[in-house]
Amino acid sequence: MPMNKFLYYIILSFIIVINITPNLKATEKKCFYCKKYKYLKDWPVEERPIAFVYEEIVFPKDMFDDKALKNRHILIKRAEKKVAHRFVKAKGQLNKYQHLMIKDSAYFEVMFNEKLNKKLAKVESLESLKKARDAIRQSLKISPNASTSEAIYKFWATGKMMTKIYNQNKKKKKKNEEEIIKRVKILSDLKKQIIITKTNAQKAATIEADKTIND
């Protein structure tokens, strides 16, 4: 009987260890600066990488209305709502409305920048958002080290241009003729076959080399 009890406790401990380990791993913070600073107020400006320092921006014309430009609180709300809709609620339609995604990325930059002006912003949250910001910047090949204002202007101006293209072309819906499509397909297939030919050549040389070495 004591033996059974011993086994019971061994198995129980084993189960507990198995259940706890992943939880410990899951709670381990996937951030760097957050381990030293919980809130932004704890993090001296002079010790922050430049990406975490608030920047005063002169916004592109028409990005915000006068009301928002006069009241920072309204401006922040506007930016957050745009971001929340485009990148969270309507993220399933990002590919369909790429022009809006590019334009609204400017609001994402504003939202991130404004968070850097909040003393009680959590550093963990900021680090997480910065990763997303850097990823979104890749759509226009904007450096992670570029200033916020540079990124805002690039997203805004390109989004404006792409919106013009979208609006101009959505009425056309013109499709290329069948004979053109046939020819494009021939050339596309040819390209694919050439890639296979080159890859096959290297594979053939590799296989033969491998065989000769092993012989």
Partner: protein
């Protein structure tokens, strides 16, 4: 007299034999060893068989076409016709043993097909626009910068195509006739260059010496090796373009400008005075310096570069450069070069199909949107024509086999040269030693440190990479096969890995030798080699993502030691890391406390934050190339070390191909996702490495990061009651 005649005949015979052998790549390789002979002949036979099938498939498809009825169909037909001729030339070249010409003919067909396909109008194009009326000056500056970044890929493609033309033309294909036929229909290299010239991306007059493009006055070899200044890129586009290219491209541009200030092109005619040129030159060099700063170069190093090149405004540069927007400089450049010129360029860039700006933006935006919405579009390689099948690689293929296969095809694959835009070493440019069919065991095309290049280190590296003893390597002739490429064993492994996966070998190599042709990068590397570099310079090389196979070879054994120790990394063999590009021999971070605090500070990190870390306790290997790429992409040191950690050194060393591939993909901004997707189902390697790259992984995580970032904020609008959706058609925001 008779003796003299016999002597002359003998000399002629030897010269003829030598020259015919030198041109016959297949014979030259076969002469190395039995291994080389069998391997190269297997490749030749495979290309022959596959080309035959491709020709038959193409002929069958062409027969089914109706007669063309408009200009677009005509242009496509001419492209198909020229592709057919080039395919026949592939077979001719193989018959004469000219494997580089055969492979470059295949590459040229791809380039011709690309131009033709991109010439077909899409609906993503703007018909007309008046930029000055609808966009502010700041927005025009932003658009100029984005346009510069988006057209880089196009210029790289055209330089690559010029290199291909150079090889096949020398081998006997009438490329002038081919390009004239294509250009008459708007789908040749001349048409693309003319369009790029109108936008200010290149300058046809500067490249060819004639106002209008003529194939006869176009030197493909020279053009393919030019840097951004030499091709005549407008200063307003240069800022965006250099941002997209490696650091060495920017330093090379400064070197060219310091030697010839009048190289600046595309100024408004009314503004061409000596004062205007001086002003534009000052603004342009300042703008390039800002680009270098964005890439991670410190003010101190930028100032040193300015002093070395005697560029006054850069040598006196201040810390302010790090906080200024690069668009403000661009705005001034636009004013000095003429607003009219710039607006015309941008209008054209967004309205001309062949420039490909909107296509590039759309492709990038698709990648981001798919990753954010976690929807992936299946774009894998679907070969509708089943007569050409992909060979299956055996699962247990050896690293030695991969290295030999890659080395056999290295010269044919790279004979067109690496594009001058990325500032490669001279031997790897178009017409350089890389396109030489002759074998030369003493060539050192990537400028590896002399001590290593002349020692036994190459053989020893091969031994460590393949787990084969050095004397067996010599018996099989593996050392000669690899030496013949003139590349480091690490670079050969990268070629193998990229080639077997259907990736663009040229891009993979370009990325790994970028900057080696720049005197500035050479000087920085030399100072790291001889230990005179200060901690800032070491940090700069890492932070700017400049650590690659090329620089690791350039800094040599001592340089790798100095570079690694600064990061607290102790390598088992520094020569091995230098020549393998860190694929093998990378050491562990013994303790993060060993990291040089000055360097950590230079990377923008408080050293006191990294006194204890899980990485230090687990004794993992660190891949310097991946680490440098990660830091330059905005990661902090700990994350960069984690992302470049080699979790099981033993396993990694058993599969150098996987290691080389993951390294290429992690640092590979030059490798497009399109290329990666193509390779998905033709790989014998780990699929997860092929179907995902560093960029896609970052983006995949971004969606959840964004949601968690928002969720952590109780004030996030999605967490507010009464949240209203925005109309996706108009993008109108809900009223506050």
């Amino acid at each position: 007299m008779i003796k003299l005649k016999i002597f002359i005949k003998l000399i002629t015979f030897f010269l003829f034999t030598f020259s015919s052998q030198a041109d016959n790549y297949v014979e030259n390789i076969s002469g190395i060893s039995e291994l080389a002979d069998k391997s190269v002949k297997a490749a030749v036979s495979q290309i022959n068989n596959d080309t035959e099938k491709v020709i038959n498939n193409l002929n069958n498809e062409v027969e089914k076409l109706n007669v063309s009825e408009n200009d677009i169909e005509n242009a496509l037909d001419v492209s198909i016709g020229e592709a057919q001729k080039a395919l026949e030339f592939v077979q001719e070249s193989l018959n004469s043993g000219d494997m580089p010409a055969a492979v470059q003919s295949l590459n040229l067909i791809e380039s011709v097909a690309d131009i033709a396909i991109n010439s077909v109008p899409t609906i993503n194009q703007l018909d007309n626009i008046n930029l000055k009326e609808e966009f502010s000056e700041e927005e025009i500056s932003a658009l100029a910068s984005v346009t510069g970044a988006m057209v880089v890929e196009k210029v790289l493609d055209v330089q690559k195509m010029a290199g291909q033309i150079n090889v096949v033309n020398k081998a006997g294909l009438d490329t002038s006739n081919m390009m004239n036929n294509l250009d008459k229909n708007g789908v040749g290299i001349g048409s693309v260059l003319t369009n790029l010239s109108e936008v200010g991306v290149v300058n046809v007059e500067k490249i060819t010496g004639k106002k209008d493009f003529q194939i006869e006055s176009f030197n493909t070899e020279t053009f393919s090796s030019m840097d951004v200044v030499e091709i005549g890129m407008n200063p307003t586009l240069m800022q965006g373009a250099l941002g997209e290219l490696p650091l060495g491209a920017a330093t090379k541009a400064l070197e060219t400008l310091s030697k010839g200030p009048n190289e600046i092109m595309n100024l408004d005619a009314s503004l061409i005075t000596s004062e205007a040129i001086a002003e534009t030159l000052g603004l342009t060099t300042n703008s390039i310096a800002k680009t270098m700063s964005l890439k991670g170069l410190s003010v101190e190093t930028i100032s040193d570069v300015g002093k070395n090149l005697s560029i006054e405004n850069i040598s006196e540069i201040s810390d302010e450069i790090t906080t200024q927007s690069s668009l403000s400089d661009l705005s001034e450049i636009i004013q000095s070069t003429g607003l009219e010129n710039v607006t015309k360029s941008i209008e054209l860039a967004f309205t001309d199909e062949t420039i490909g700006v909107t296509k590039a933006i759309t492709a990038n935006a698709s990648l981001i949107s798919e990753a954010l919405s976690k929807k992936s579009v299946n774009k894998g390689l679907k070969n509708d024509n089943e007569t050409l099948e992909s060979i299956e690689l055996p699962e247990n293929i050896s690293d030695t086999g991969i290295l030999v296969g890659a080395a056999i095809l290295a010269k044919p694959n790279l004979a067109s040269g690496v594009q001058g835009l990325v500032a490669p070493p001279e031997g790897l440019t178009s017409g350089g030693l890389i396109s030489d069919s002759d074998i030369s065991v003493e060539s050192n095309l990537t400028n590896v440190d002399g001590t290593l290049a002349t020692s036994n280190a190459m053989k020893e590296t091969l031994g460590k990479m393949t787990n084969i003893e050095v004397n067996k390597i010599e018996d099989l002739g593996i050392d000669k096969i690899v030496d013949n490429t003139g590349l480091t064993p690490g670079l050969v492994a990268t070629i193998g890995s990229a080639g077997l996966n259907g990736l663009d070998i040229n891009k993979a190599v370009a990325e790994n030798v970028a900057g080696i042709g720049s005197e500035t990068i050479q000087k920085i590397s030399q100072s790291i080699n001889d230990g005179t570099a200060n901690s800032q310079t070491v940090a700069d090389l890492i932070a700017s993502g400049s650590v690659n196979h090329g620089t690791l070879g350039l800094v040599g054994e001592d340089g790798v030691k100095n570079l690694s120790e600064a990061m607290g990394i102790k390598n088992e063999d520094n020569a091995l890391v230098s020549l393998s590009g860190g694929i093998v021999g990378s050491g562990s971070v013994e303790s993060l406390e060993n990291i040089n605090p000055e360097i950590v500070e230079s990377l923008g990190i408080d050293p006191s934050m990294i006194t204890s870390n899980a990485i230090a306790e687990t004794m993992l290997g660190v891949d310097l190339v991946k680490m440098s790429a990660a830091i330059s992409n905005g990661m902090n040191l700990t994350d960069a070390l984690e992302s470049s950690a080699l979790e099981d050194l033993g396993e990694v060393e058993k599969n150098i191909a996987e290691m080389a591939l993951s390294q290429s993909l992690a640092s590979g901004q030059l490798i497009s996702d399109q290329d990666i997707e193509v390779s998905a189902d033709i790989s014998g390697l780990d699929q997860s490495l092929v179907t995902s790259n560093a960029m896609a992984e970052t983006l995949g995580a971004a969606a959840s990061n964004m949601e968690s970032g928002m969720a952590l904020d109780p004030n996030a609008p999605t967490n507010q009651p009464g949240y209203n959706a925005i109309d996706p058609e108009t993008g109108a925001a809900p009223k506050p």
